[in-house]
């Protein structure tokens, strides 16, 4: 009996490719997720972040900008002197910390998402050109990539940020451009490998055009590694945005962001540690979640690793 003539075991949904219809695929993915608990935690953290960012106006107990000087630097509700009016306490101007953290997720997510989007699109195009064309073009692009990567990243970002000033768009553009070499390098490496692969050769033997080879045969193979890189880079950007905020170089102080909160709370580190602790935890959990998610995506996006053991 050959492999092909075995009846498909539909009840157990062994392979995603046999799952018919959208619903079954979702069920299948959830099953995969259930098996990888850390991926699950990552996804939950990430979804929580998105949920917070989207529903911020409705779930925040207070206006994040509403000052209340009489209630300044209140500790979290569970410590002495705290009140459930301000569950995580207030900052030096009496603004609700929880609301500010919830609103802060918007900045982080926006910077992370659009920054990665710009970096990935830019890097992918450049990397594809370098990898596929080869020769002098490749050498020139690789040289440029190495030049950018050789610069101390934070210093570079600080430099640009101080020239162009503080705004969300600027931060996104800075991260998008300075991070694109990472994507370009990953893409180039993969393209170099894929360009010589048997299936590209066989596509050529079938008369496929260059356009078709790049977009049909090479690009889909890049998506797995690039999404993984994107997740990690998104986490890094959220990190760096907070760093810039801490240095007062990210979004203007009027916008609540985790970095700005860290920066503002620094002065009160010894007397009111919660001003730093909670934004710090928010950054940490976000970063942790994205990294776990990235690990899981890397496994799932490779069709060869998509197997469910019963």
């Amino acid at each position: 009996m050959t492999e092909a003539s075995l009846p498909a075991d539909k009840s157990s949904g062994l392979l995603i490719d046999e799952a018919r219809g959208f619903r079954q695929k979702i069920i299948y993915l959830l099953r995969l997720l259930w098996r990888d608990k850390s991926g699950m935690i990552g996804l939950i953290l990430f979804l929580t972040l998105i949920f917070l960012a989207v529903t911020a106006p409705w779930i925040s107990p207070h206006d994040p900008l509403q000052q209340n000087l009489r209630a300044s630097r209140l500790p979290p509700a569970w410590s002495e002197g705290g009140t459930w009016d301000y569950p995580l306490g207030t900052d030096n101007l009496g603004r609700d910390l929880l609301s500010r953290i919830i609103y802060g997720s918007r900045v982080s997510l926006t910077v992370g998402f659009f920054g990665v989007l710009i970096a990935a699109s830019l890097g992918m195009v450049v990397g594809l050109i370098a990898g596929y064309t080869g020769g002098r073009v490749d050498s020139a692009i690789t040289g440029l990539i190495n030049l950018i990567l050789a610069m101390p990243y934070l210093l570079f970002v600080v430099f640009i940020a101080s020239i162009f000033g503080r705004s969300l768009i600027n931060v996104i553009l800075i991260f998008g451009i300075t991070d694109s070499p990472i994507f370009a390098r990953t893409t180039r490496g993969e393209v170099l490998r894929l360009r010589e692969s048997g299936y590209v050769e066989s596509a050529i033997s079938l008369g496929a055009s260059q356009f078709r080879i790049i977009f049909r045969h090479i690009l889909p193979n890049l998506i797995g590694p690039l999404i993984t890189v994107a997740t990690f880079e998104m986490s890094a950007m959220i990190f760096y945005e907070a760093g810039l905020g801490f240095l007062n170089l990210s979004v203007p102080p009027s916008i609540p962001s985790w970095g700005n909160m860290l920066s503002a709370g620094r002065k009160y580190l010894t007397s009111s540690p919660w001003l730093l602790t909670f934004p710090g935890l928010a950054i940490m959990f976000t970063s942790l979640g994205m990294n776990l998610l990235g690990d899981w995506l890397r496994d799932v996006l490779d069709p060869r690793l998509r197997r469910v053991k019963k």
Partner: protein, 347 residues
């Protein structure tokens, strides 16, 4: 004057390759991978190209389809006249878009390693239907229908289910069947099989050989079968071309080659082959020495280094393909069967 090394049949051959020469520029110098190779392929025939690794079998086929990466490679001379029943085109001078139409559409190519020749992120259905959509302009549903027929044709059962599968869900033999389905999707006139059975185990090899032989009959294709397995050649080929060091050393109808091999290299190859019908036990003979390096411009018979019969003239000029009986057959100055040098006029 150069001896015209092409034996002309009465009708126009499907493929007429003349004086094909391919070189590669490397750091260590120029590699003369294919030197002055000529052969013809008639409609519906199976031509086997035999030779050891690095003798230029694959490179000459890739050269014809202009699939040599350039640089470092370059086809420096030659013609590959492809006759499609109406007109004759020289594949080596077609424009890029024209040669793309030939690839896959009129000439199918099966590669050696089915494990790496399929794209791991596309389903096999997508990969088979790709050239149907690209070359034949079929709609997706037409292509799908045709793909299911093709899967059936190459012996993959449950096509509807398998259509959605990814390459890693297939065994090596099944993947090679998929590769064959891709290669024959547009009903090419010529199917080039580059050692398609090397990566497979023996029983599967036999199935693949049978499959190609059957498809050749059903679809009326000519097959060029590149191999180093003389056993496979005996079973399926009509004619054989033996290559050594980038040169054609012998060409013959398959029976003639096995009955009366002319070139010392062919004799050596056959001597190294165990035979099922042998009664006495014997040691398999190996050919002394190692394959030539191809860095120097060939000025003599490449086999002279290892040839037990080599004499002065073998080192002075390249032997042309000589006529034995009625056909051009062997490129050798020494007649092994007679035990004396051949009478070849100076060029």
């Amino acid at each position: 004057m150069k001896i015209l090394t092409v034996d002309r049949g009465t009708s126009t051959p499907l493929l007429d390759v003349r004086n094909l020469t391919t070189k590669f520029g490397t750091m260590d110098g120029t590699v003369h991978a294919v030197n002055d190779v000529s052969f013809i392929l008639d409609e519906g025939e199976t031509l086997a190209i035999v030779g050891e690794s690095g003798c230029g079998k694959t490179v000459s086929m890739l050269s014809i389809l202009r699939m040599i990466p350039e640089p470092p490679g370059k086809v420096t001379q030659g013609q590959a006249l492809f006759f499609d029943g109406i007109s004759t085109r020289d594949l080596l001078s077609l424009s890029i878009s024209k040669i793309r139409q030939v690839r896959g559409c009129e000439v199918g190519f099966i590669f050696q390693d089915p494990l790496t020749s399929l794209n791991p992120v596309l389903t096999i259905g997508q990969q088979i239907s790709e050239s149907l959509v690209e070359h034949k302009g079929m709609s997706d549903s037409q292509a799908r229908k045709r793909t299911l027929e093709l899967l059936d044709l190459v012996g993959i059962s449950e096509g509807k289910r398998r259509y959605k599968n990814y390459p890693h869900q297939f065994s090596g033999g099944m993947r090679q069947r998929v590769m064959i389905a891709i290669a024959i999707a547009c009903l090419p006139k010529i199917l080039i099989a580059d050692e398609p059975t090397t990566a497979l185990d023996v029983t599967v090899q036999a199935q693949i050989v049978e499959l190609v032989a059957r498809l050749k009959e059903e679809l009326n294709m000519a097959v060029i079968w590149i191999t180093h397995d003389l056993g496979v050649v005996a079973g399926m080929a009509d004619r054989v071309m033996v290559m050594y060091g980038g040169q054609v050393v012998e060409r013959a109808i398959v029976e003639e080659l096995y009955e009366r091999p002319q070139h010392p290299y062919t004799i050596g190859l056959l001597g190294a082959l165990p035979r099922a019908d042998e009664i006495e036990t014997r040691r398999l003979v190996s050919i002394e020495g190692s394959p030539p390096d191809l860095y120097s411009e060939p000025t003599h018979c490449q086999f002279a280094f290892r040839c037990p019969y080599a004499f002065d003239r073998c080192w002075e000029e390249i032997p042309p393909l000589l006529t034995i009986g009625k056909r051009l057959r062997v490129a050798c100055f020494y007649d092994v069967n007679q035990g004396k040098a051949r009478d070849v006029p100076e060029q």
